[in-house]
């Protein structure tokens, strides 16, 4: 169970922020030079602040956005945006907001059966059987077969979305913040379901979240993203035990466990991203920034269970841990 299923090689995505035909084009690098590998059967989690490029990355994995440069490989074979149909059989998404990810004009049955119809799988009867099977699998009652999304609660909707994502039996499911729009009680149901399905169907998850507690609960490997770059990529245990990048540390400190004895932590990081044009992108907020951080981008420091990019990680420390 360690073969590579998904691989990204130096993927960059740049957006042209033009607001009209004649306006000078501004550019925004949403994802910068990201490389990663996801192994079959693992849960690869991606955390990072809002706007750091997580969704953009997910869209590229889904073939919805072509990368500006770099390569995406599924099962070792490079894919392009033209292979959207082919990718869609192997990679499927679950989105953050179950309220906007289901077409309100379609019944549950139509929604779940759509991938079968699009790919021409089965006939009417077999599709119906398959939809029923999926309903059972995600824990929806067969009563909901003809219901419309408007009649379902958030948790039920997210189940429909999961059923739709799984009906073609994909290998990878890209979960883009699948529970952050939901109440904690519903979140628990969905997380349990995802874990259960992974076990039963042998799925691989690419799991995006900014909730570190959830990530710690779910993930095998974790990557931390900041302003379009990966700053640290580690095994779960390693990352949570000894975060190496200052941003990762701040993130971990910001996790608020329901513990009334502890106060509110002071993460000591700044709140502005301005001024980080040169050197390490995190330097404007970094509490520990030293001179070199303002001039030179940090190189990748390899760690036993992954890597991080920070000038402050001394080589000795690497070897020590």
């Amino acid at each position: 169970m360690s073969e590579t299923l998904l691989e990204l090689r130096h993927v960059t995505r740049v957006f042209d922020l033009s607001q009209g035909v004649f306006r000078r084009v501004a550019r925004l690098t949403a994802v910068a030079d990201v490389s990663l590998t996801v192994k079959r059967g693992e849960v690869f989690a991606l955390v990072g602040e809002s706007g750091s490029g997580k969704t953009t990355l997910a869209k590229m994995l889904l073939g919805l956005l072509p990368p500006s440069s770099g390569e995406i490989l599924v099962d070792g074979a490079p894919v392009t945006a033209k292979d959207r149909v082919a990718i869609s059989r192997r990679v499927q998404p679950i989105f953050q907001d179950p309220y906007s990810s289901l077409n309100p004009r379609k019944s549950v049955a139509q929604l779940i059966a759509l991938p079968l119809i699009v790919h021409g799988v089965g006939n009417r009867a077999s599709r119906r059987a398959k939809v029923m099977e999926m309903l059972d699998l995600v824990g929806l009652s067969r009563r909901h077969y003809d219901a419309y999304p408007g009649q379902l609660s958030g948790g039920q909707r997210q189940r429909v979305a999961i059923a739709r994502a799984l009906i073609l039996r994909p290998e990878v499911v890209i979960c883009d913040e699948p529970t952050s729009a939901l109440d904690v009680s519903v979140q628990a149901q969905i997380l349990n379901l995802l874990l259960e399905l992974k076990r039963e169907l042998g799925l691989t998850y690419f799991f995006i979240s900014h909730n570190l507690a959830v990530v710690e609960h779910l993930a095998d490997r974790v990557a931390v993203m900041y302003l379009g770059r990966f700053v640290e990529e580690r095994s779960r245990a390693g990352l949570f035990a000894s975060p190496r990048h200052p941003y990762t540390r701040a993130l971990l400190e910001s996790v608020l466990t329901p513990d009334p004895d502890l106060g509110v932590p002071d993460t000591r990081i700044g709140n502005t991203t301005a001024g980080g044009e040169s050197g390490c992108p995190f330097n404007p907020r970094c509490p520990d920034a030293i001179d070199i951080c303002h001039t030179t981008p940090p190189a990748v420091r390899t760690l036993p269970d992954g890597w991080a990019t920070c000038h402050l990680i001394a080589e000795e420390a690497v070897s020590a841990s």
Binding site: V21, S101, P115, L193
Partner: protein, 304 residues
């Protein structure tokens, strides 16, 4: 503990009763909306009259009788029941002309909206969905269209192609698509950003399929509202063109034409212009009420 037990999910009080409740809600809201009820009733009545015109009209609307011209309507001293609304300047039965006129006016409204709706929706949906350059080009076409003064261009085109019922419909159809385009564009933009469109793409749906089965159904409400309002607009424009002498040609009894012909008598026999004007106002009012009502009833803030 395992995955949450299926039976527990959806034991919420709401789910089972929901489908009927929701639909009933829309109907109830519709019937509770006085404007919609009033407009709808008027509109249905006018449509029924138009459809059943040959059955309802007491006389042939084209039959002239110069000896009995300008008979006043029944409520005036010299009126009589044979011509309940009197006769026009050529002695044609006014009621019959009014009834047949409903057909022409509705026909103009409907066909114009069909043409302009198709053009506008295609442009708007494409601009909204594809965005970027496509949007820039299409928006620019829309702006160009908006820059051309409708009445003037309609008049000029009518003068070029000759004024006739078909001509008026085609000219108006080719001119009135702007609102469709603007509305569908912004609606499509909103929908194109939703996750369900992204999901459909991730599933592997073709662009055409997404446009037709994901986007179109969701902008239908907006389209219907625009269509009703645009229909009223078209009917009024036809009346204005007729008034300016380049609309439907006689002896076809369009209401706009009847008004413009009745203008001659406005000082001494105001009923000649008053009757078709009242009919036109009623029709346009009905359509507007229905359009407004639909907008209110389907507006998201009013949904259950």
């Amino acid at each position: 503990m395992t995955v949450a037990a299926p039976v527990d999910i959806g034991t919420g009080l709401e789910a089972p009763a929901a489908p009927q409740r929701r639909r009933a809600g829309l109907l109830r809201r519709s019937f509770g909306h006085s404007g919609l009820v009033l407009g709808g009733t008027m509109l249905v009545a006018i449509i029924a009259i138009a459809l059943a015109a040959p059955l309802l009209a007491p006389h042939d609307p084209y039959n002239q009788d110069l000896a009995h011209r300008l008979i006043p309507p029944v409520w005036q001293a010299k009126g009589g029941w044979d011509h309940a609304l009197g006769t026009d300047k050529l002695g044609r039965d006014y009621l019959s002309r009014l009834i047949f006129g409903a057909r022409i006016s509705l026909l103009i409204g409907t066909l114009t909206v069909l043409i302009s709706g198709t053009i506008g929706t295609v442009i708007g949906v494409c601009a909204g969905y594809f965005g970027g350059r496509v949007d820039a080009v299409l928006s620019y076409i829309v702006t160009t269209r908006l820059a051309l003064p409708v009445v003037l261009v309609a008049l000029a085109s009518a003068a070029l192609v000759g004024s006739s019922l078909q001509g008026v419909i085609v000219v108006l159809g080719l001119l009135l698509w702007d609102r469709f385009a603007v509305v569908t564009r912004s609606a499509t933009q909103q929908i194109a950003r939703t996750d369900y469109v992204a999901a459909a793409r991730a599933i592997g749906c073709s662009t055409l399929r997404i446009l037709i089965s994901e986007i179109l159904p969701n902008i239908l409400n907006a389209l219907i509202v625009v269509a009703t309002l645009e229909m009223a607009h078209a009917i009024l424009l036809e009346a204005a063109l007729s008034f300016l002498g380049l609309g439907v040609q006689p002896p076809l009894p369009s209401w706009g034409l009847m008004i413009s012909e009745g203008k001659q008598y406005m000082f001494f026999s105001p009923w000649v212009i008053g009757i078709p004007a009242a009919a036109l106002v009623a029709l346009v009012l009905a359509i507007n009420l229905v359009g407004d009502g639909l907008r209110d009833v389907t507006a998201p803030e009013n949904r259950g």
